[in-house]
Symmetry: C2
Subunit: 245 residues, 2 copies
DNA sequence: CGAACTCTTGACTAGTGTCAAATTTTGTGG
DNA sequence: CCACAAAATTTGACACTAGTCAAGAGTTCG
């Protein structure tokens, strides 16, 4: 759904987001063989135990990572927004340790592992950008561990709402602290270690306190300072880099 | 406390654990300038917000990663055992997003970032090994998220005990499902999103059920199958590679 | 050898989970 | 584009896991 020039541009930007690319790197990225793919919501991209053959860049829509316990409980262990690389781990790990699923209809660019490996090994800037992307993802996992392990329900929900806002704004996809959050309350619960019922109560409470506004699944942060304070939110862990300089 | 030959050998092994090294790689690792350092327990190695200048390989003792909330609550978001690289994230991220602390007296090998960057860029096998190490760490974060988010206290404790056993045995540091776990019950609580008091109750319960034996902080898994079943423990997420072949 | 941590235990509390049912929203086939 | 079924949201009543507080016993370490 994007023309080739647009796809190339976004691919370059996805790497350039993390580190300055030299002309060689940009040229190499522009010559990378890629496939565009559209996938409906609620579909598997990778299943646990599978041996995936490609990485992807998410252009549009949301993707999440989930793990299941033996008795069928689900944890959503990660969320990807447009501009994120998905499945860099496939580069060097054989077997997937979790499921990757679409939250909404998505548009992704597929890159084969071999192409990406060649690119990374011939081009230090790309290797560096991929490292940074992977390390930031790990940093987000750590913050989520703090969130789920040591914050109460209100703080947790507030923190996730802040994080999503910050991540969307960092890539220019949300303005005015307002965005469409296409997750059900059950999914929010699975991402925060809570039940859907409790998420509902907490969202209502946050609304009543004037911290957020909701219409359907559209979230507007009404009082950023207060929400941020409640959530104990600080962007440091997102390592938002401005590689423009 | 280790002689130079020993240090070199362990360093080579730390990389070789993840991928086969060619002779060039081995030679390069053997020529890496390294410093050995001994640090007492309960010391900071890195503080949040710092700009660290080196990476380390943990030779002896335990290290943990912690994050604090504004109101002083702590989450332990990671644990490193001998043979693990510590702070590969420093390679490409400027500012640390968490604290790194010694749990016990440790012996580490310090490597400067510049030396490691040069090594990685000149030697694909090393770059690959470091990627794998980083990706496995991320995989452990995800499993911990599932553990804290969706398992109850008994399952959580059991899971951590299984994980530590598996990680120690994978590098040959524990036999017979028995090991010294140098964590206080408060630290266990912080790693599992529980309180020290509750950890105590759960440990006693697991002991009473005949799943584990305890003497001071020494843990012996008395019934691996049962403990593993209770914990819903599966080693897949550890991506234990046998790079020997 | 004493002070400061840890561990252990009991009594009580609070935050979330569970269950269930009404209401609203979403998605889909005709 | 409507109609309807399925899914998601909302709410209340109640249950239960894990937290809090407190105090005594054991352990560690300077």
């Amino acid at each position: 759904v994007f023309d080739d020039a647009e796809v190339r541009g976004r691919l370059v930007h996805a790497f350039a987001r993390f580190t300055k690319l030299d002309d060689d790197a940009i040229a190499a990225v522009r010559h990378l063989p890629v496939t565009q793919r559209e996938i409906a919501g609620s579909n598997y991209i990778v299943r646990e135990g599978q041996l995936p053959q490609r990485c992807a860049l998410l252009l549009e829509g949301f993707i999440y990572r989930q793990k299941l316990t033996a008795n069928g409980q689900r944890a959503i262990v990660g969320l990807q927004v447009p501009g994120d690389f998905v499945d860099l781990q496939n580069l060097f790990l054989d077997e997937s340790d979790h499921d990757v699923m679409t939250l909404t209809r998505v548009i992704i660019i597929d890159i084969t592992l071999t192409d990406l490996r060649v690119l990374a090994s011939t081009c230090p800037a790309i290797n560096r950008a991929m490292w940074i992307a992977g390390l930031i993802e790990a940093s987000i996992f750590r913050e989520w561990l703090l969130n789920v392990g040591r914050r109460d329900a209100h703080e947790r929900v507030a923190h996730l709402l802040c994080e999503i806002s910050a991540r969307l704004e960092a890539t220019g996809q949300a303005r005015e602290l307002s965005y469409k959050l296409p997750m059900t309350q059950e999914q929010l619960g699975d991402a925060l270690g809570l039940t859907a019922v409790h998420i509902n109560r907490v969202l209502k409470a946050l609304e009543k306190q004037g911290l957020i506004l909701r219409q359907k699944r559209h979230i507007a942060i009404a009082d950023w300072q207060q929400l941020r304070r409640l959530a104990d939110f600080n962007t440091r862990y997102l390592h938002i880099v401005d590689a423009a300089e």
